[in-house]
């Protein structure tokens, strides 16, 4: 089975897993197509392929795929879309004025978990993963798997970045379920499968265990800085591959 993985810097974990532990069981070939940050937004549909519309992305696609400057899905059996802002960070904007915890300050508007899930699903429509998913669907009906950006390492709270303040709520289990349900609503809408983050990688429901953020690798193979609490390593990547295989 041949697998195409489309993503951003977070595919570093999936690639380093293969580099270190070999191909996942049942997969004979994996081709990565990735660009850092939001550069995959420069993809466009043309002649049944996804082509880069910027020189930078063209170089990244060639680099990550081993020489293909555009994405031709003919040789793929399955497609995995990994990362691309399919992230819990989507809740930052929602939980800025809302809360899922009762008895809190009246300045925050209480909403139900179901409402939060729907709000997450609606907000994910504007995330790059869904933009790419829609383009892929225009050119192929092959099975697509949505794999989320990993939950951050809990040490992200040390950064005192207000955008992550929403993670400090007490009802973390509720947030976790609402996020997964939001992704499921999105997956069902497009007829694709979603792959939740492996439970064994989680701490306190919404954080990735610090052991997985140690020595994470970037797209170009270099090790991320110690203060990078968002990217994960090859061990994490191996567990994600396990989740993908389990869904096949």
């Amino acid at each position: 089975m041949k697998c195409f993985v489309l993503g951003d810097s977070h595919i570093g974990a999936l690639r380093s897993s293969i580099d270190n532990f070999g191909l996942p069981s049942g997969i004979e070939e994996v081709t990565f197509y990735a660009g850092p940050s939001a550069s995959m937004a420069d993809l466009a549909v043309r002649d049944g392929n996804l082509i880069p519309t910027s020189e930078k992305l063209s170089r990244m696609l060639s680099y990550t795929s081993g020489g293909n400057p555009f994405i031709d899905f003919k040789s793929a059996d399955i497609i995995v879309i990994h990362g691309l802002s399919l992230s819990i960070s989507v809740c930052s904007r929602i939980l800025d004025k809302n809360t899922i915890e009762g008895g809190q300050s009246q300045s925050l508007n209480y909403i139900t978990l179901a409402c939060l899930s729907q709000a997450i699903a609606d907000n994910l429509q504007r995330r790059l993963a869904i933009h790419v998913l829609k383009m892929v669907r225009q050119v192929t009906n092959k099975p697509i798997f949505l794999s989320q950006t990993p939950f951050p390492d809990a040490r992200i709270n040390n950064l005192k970045d207000k955008r992550w303040d929403f993670l400090k709520l007490d009802y973390k289990e509720g947030l976790y379920h609402a996020f997964n349900d939001g992704i499921k609503i999105t997956s069902n809408k497009y007829g694709v499968k979603s792959i939740p983050q492996p439970e064994c990688t989680l701490v306190d429901h919404i954080y990735t265990d610090s052991m997985f953020s140690k020595d994470s690798q970037g797209l170009a193979g270099g090790i991320h800085d110690e203060s990078d609490f968002g990217h994960m390593n090859q061990h994490y990547g191996s567990l994600v591959w396990g989740g993908i295989i389990a869904c096949l």
């Binding site: 929602i94 809302n98 009762g102 909403i111 978990l113 409402c115 729907q118 709000a119 609606d122």
Partner: protein, 342 residues
């Protein structure tokens, strides 16, 4: 026939209302049109419970955000609004009652507020508490409180007197003949409750003024043992009388003739959908045009073209997607005697 459509000055507002005037809206399903029109015209419509950022309009509507100034769902009876105000202003505590179905929980006093109910009674209670906060906040912030009166018939809990928005068991909950009692409010009761609402609301906002309307949407069912035509006429007449009387004797109450603009004899059925119940978009536009033109607020809603109107002819009979629990009665298969013949 043209004369019907040349009506002018059908409403002379008692007070100026501008696009800056903070306005709250509640009431029966027709009141949703008023909420929407106020928003479309850039009026200062008070939204006491804003939906989460980034939600689509479709999702917001499904979760009843932006439908009324607070998330009570439709308030068909005057007594039900009084009950919400009592709870919001801590005059009474809501009873400890909830309905469950398929492992989900439903608030008996706003059963359709969440499309799939609540996951727990805690979630139900937290959500209701949010609405109670919102009611108080909306009363404090508003200058004009528009209340569309819908029905005189309601259902109460015989044990504790609490008031339901519709008959338990018709869509959610289970009907219990011992506990669930039908009540058709009479003029004196309606007037007393409306005065009580005014008094409660003014206890937190002395300057608040009330604009009453009567929904032109006819009853879909009655439990009065009268023919639906007779029951409907009674209901609308009494509501209209109470609203008119209070508008006559109180300076802080005005009446806007939504009912007359749709249901009066000169217009026949032209503003009703083929089911002779739902008001068409043209009908809503017709009402709102009179509302805004009387206030000298630039009308942006579609305006009826007189040439397109013919006696008994089809106007644009599309109907907006209002959230109307009373429609659920049409699905009711009864263990209770509800007369819905027309």
């Amino acid at each position: 026939m043209r004369e019907s459509f040349e009506m002018r000055d059908i409403w002379s507002p008692k007070w100026p209302i501008t696009t800056k005037t903070p306005i709250a809206t509640v009431g029966s399903c027709f009141a949703q049109h008023i909420s929407k029109a106020l928003q479309m015209h850039g009026c200062n419509w008070i939204n006491g419970e804003q939906g989460p950022s980034g939600m689509t309009n479709e999702s917001l509507r499904a979760y009843n955000y932006g439908v009324f100034s607070f998330r009570t769902g439709n308030i068909y009876t005057i007594a039900l609004l009084k009950q919400w105000l009592h709870w919001a202003l801590d005059k009474e505590q809501p009873p400890d009652e909830y309905w469950s179905q398929n492992n989900r929980f439903y608030d008996p006093f706003r059963p359709e507020i969440e499309p799939c109910g609540f996951i727990s009674t805690d979630e139900l209670l937290h959500s209701r508490q949010q609405t109670l906060y919102a009611i108080r906040s909306v009363l404090e912030k508003s200058n004009i409180f528009i209340f569309t009166l819908g029905l005189t018939e309601g259902w109460i809990n015989a044990d504790n007197g609490s008031i339901y928005p519709y008959c338990p068991g018709t869509q959610r909950g289970t009907y219990d003949a011992g506990s669930h009692k039908y009540k058709n409010y009479n003029y004196q009761e309606l007037r007393r409750d409306l005065l009580s609402i005014i008094s409660l609301a003014k206890s937190v906002n002395k300057g608040l003024r009330f604009l009453l309307t009567v929904s032109p949407v006819p009853l879909i069912a009655t439990a009065s043992n009268q023919h639906i035509l007779v029951a409907n006429q009674y209901s609308k007449s009494v509501l209209r009388s109470v609203a008119g009387d209070l508008a006559t004797v109180r300076r802080d109450v005005d009446y806007f003739p939504s009912y007359e603009l749709i249901a009066s004899h000169p217009f026949g059925d032209r503003f009703y959908d083929s089911n002779l119940r739902a008001v068409t978009d043209d009908g809503v536009a017709w009402v709102m045009r009179h509302f805004f033109s009387a206030l000298n607020i630039n009308a942006k809603v579609p305006v009826l073209k007189e040439k397109s109107i013919k006696l008994h002819g089809e106007v644009n009979k599309t109907v907006s997607d209002t959230v109307c629990e009373e429609e659920l009665l049409s699905q009711f298969e009864g263990s209770i005697s509800i007369n819905k013949e027309l």
